[in-house]
């Protein structure tokens, strides 16, 4: 029988799974962390026997070799049996999944009768910046009247999944920012006074 390469294990699970479960360090993005934890929980709960016969909780050895006819055979009870952790099939993906390829934010610099021009960037520090002219029809009917000079704009490109099909899309929308309030104007005046009060101009 071929010698099966093994990765180290710890109890009932491979060590990397344990390490992941015990790792409490912040990972920067809570959403990503939750998603990863769900994925690994899935892997831990659903180990698949090497012959694909179903769950096998007692297994302690995980093969890293490509399955062959010899290594696929279930070993005797004296030897821990091999399982490969596998994710569930992807046909259970939630409806409306979206993969973002690019997101630009910016503002309208000018508007014509049928089109408008916007200045855009991925990050505020980007240089040079992107300038694009869009047909007004790219906006929804409700957004067209909002496309005036200085209006804040978002442009995303990505893949949208609907069932097992996906489509590439470009989405442009205008940010509906809350209007100015008198209190803000007052605060701005105060801040301006404090900032410039004692500067001794010549």
């Amino acid at each position: 029988m071929a010698n099966i390469p093994e990765i180290s294990t710890c109890g009932n699970q491979p060590r990397w799974i344990n390490e992941f479960q015990n790792d409490q360090r912040p990972r920067g993005n809570a959403g990503t962390q939750v998603m990863l934890r769900s994925l690994f929980t899935l892997l831990i709960k659903e180990p698949v026997r090497r012959d694909g016969m179903g769950s096998e909780q007692e297994s302690a050895v995980v093969s890293t070799a490509a399955p062959t006819e010899t290594t696929d055979r279930i070993t005797t009870s004296s030897r821990p049996r091999s399982v490969i952790p596998r994710a569930k099939r992807l046909n259970t993906l939630p409806k409306g999944r979206y993969i973002l390829l690019k997101k630009y934010e910016g503002f309208v610099t000018s508007r014509g009768e049928k089109s408008f021009t916007a200045r855009l960037s991925e990050n505020a520090s980007d240089y040079p910046v992107l300038e694009a002219e869009f047909d007004l029809e790219e906006l929804s009917e409700t957004d067209r009247s909002l496309a005036v000079d200085g209006a804040a704009l978002v442009w995303t490109m990505g893949y949208r999944y609907e069932g097992n099909t996906r489509k590439r899309e470009s989405l442009i929308y205008l940010r509906r920012l809350p209007p100015w309030k008198d209190a803000e104007a007052e605060l701005a005046k105060k801040a301006a006074d404090e900032l410039t009060r004692d500067i001794l101009w010549k």
Partner: protein, 351 residues
């Protein structure tokens, strides 16, 4: 940038070097191994449009012995209110140079308690911004804005101030730009006119008409001209060429690209060439092609837009020098770097 000799430098406005994304002035001084902290005597913001203000706060922070100068319009309550309202908002960056100017003001506020720093200067017509007594003597004098220009600008600033229920939008550039600070430099016997973005207006109290009217026709003329407002016809005033400049002066300008506006146009350049043979552009007014490492993004972007490109697209430098001890009639030495070109080459499409 102006090098006055003997280690004295002046910086007017700022833009970014596309590779390092640092202010061009600091990049250039570093290349020459000049210490900005000790050598820069003044930093002047001619006006607060984005394309003239990028990185100016970084320049000023590094130029610790420099005075800061800008239009006197910044001292008005309306401008201060705008300055504070549009700074630090996450979704609505100020624009029009407001963020940069706010950063400069913060630096000035820090320096105000320390007498080692020179006081900032509010520029107005015929006010001396900086001078050097030792030979060759230097005078840097503002030619604008006039009092009428400041009042006209205030009238345009007022409606921009935030008010209850008013839509929150990005602050766009004020047009026309009456408060732009044009400068007359005198270095020994040599004179140069820096036109900033000052425009020509019909009102005799505003723009280039006010400057030309205030110029003493008996004074020596300027041998070089930084053409205002990217060579736009809105900034052309025949009186400047007729009364303030020598015959066939050198003239240089920078390009501007936004939407369908590309300055200077070939026609504008031809008009400039009618006035002088020594006209130069730091780069042609061409945007850079849009590219993305993800080809799907590139394809989608082209499909979703009527046009898309990066601005500014091209970048170059024109260096014009002369020994300050030479007579005024001595020729200037012109060097072109990067995408810089002669206006003649631009007009004839030979670049």
């Amino acid at each position: 940038m102006v090098h006055f000799g003997q280690g004295d430098w002046g910086i007017v406005d700022s833009c970014l070097e596309p590779n390092s994304k640092r202010p061009v002035a600091l990049h250039y001084l570093k290349l020459l191994q000049v210490d900005a902290e000790k050598s820069v005597r003044f930093v002047l913001a001619s006006h607060w449009h984005d394309d003239h203000m990028q990185g100016i706060s970084s320049v000023f922070k590094e130029a610790k012995s420099a005075l800061f100068a800008c239009s006197q319009a910044v001292r008005t309550p309306e401008f201060n209110e705008i300055l504070s309202s549009w700074t630090g908002t996450r979704f609505l960056p100020g624009g029009s140079g407001v963020d940069e100017l706010h950063s400069v003001m913060s630096e000035l506020a820090k320096r105000k308690a320390d007498t080692r720093y020179p006081s900032p200067v509010l520029a107005s017509a015929n006010k001396v911004i900086w001078e050097r007594a030792r030979q060759p003597a230097i005078t840097v004098k503002a030619l604008s804005p006039s009092d009428a220009a400041v009042l006209a600008t205030l009238a345009r600033l007022k409606p921009l101030c935030p008010k209850n229920s008013k839509a929150r939008r990005r602050l766009l550039s004020l047009q026309p730009n009456d408060t732009s600070v044009a400068l007359a430099l005198q270095i020994g016997n040599h004179r140069v006119l820096l036109g900033a973005d000052l425009e020509a207006r019909r009102d005799s109290g505003l723009g280039w008409i006010a400057v030309v009217d205030g110029f003493d026709k008996n004074e020596p003329k300027h041998q070089g001209f930084k053409i205002p407002h990217h060579g736009s016809p809105t900034a052309h005033h025949a009186g400047v060429w007729d009364h303030m400049l020598t015959d066939d002066p050198w003239a240089v300008t920078t390009p501007f690209v936004s939407g369908n506006v590309k300055l200077p146009s070939v026609a504008d350049s031809q008009h400039i060439l009618d006035r002088t043979t020594g006209a130069y552009l730091t780069a042609p007014p061409h945007p850079a092609k849009f590219r993305d490492s993800n080809k799907t993004v590139e394809k989608t972007a082209h499909e979703a837009t009527l046009s898309i490109h990066f601005i500014p697209g091209r970048y170059g430098q024109v260096r014009i020098r002369k020994d300050a001890n030479f007579v005024p009639e001595a020729p200037w030495n012109v060097e072109l770097f990067g995408d810089a070109l002669t206006m003649s080459d631009y007009v004839h499409g030979t670049h």
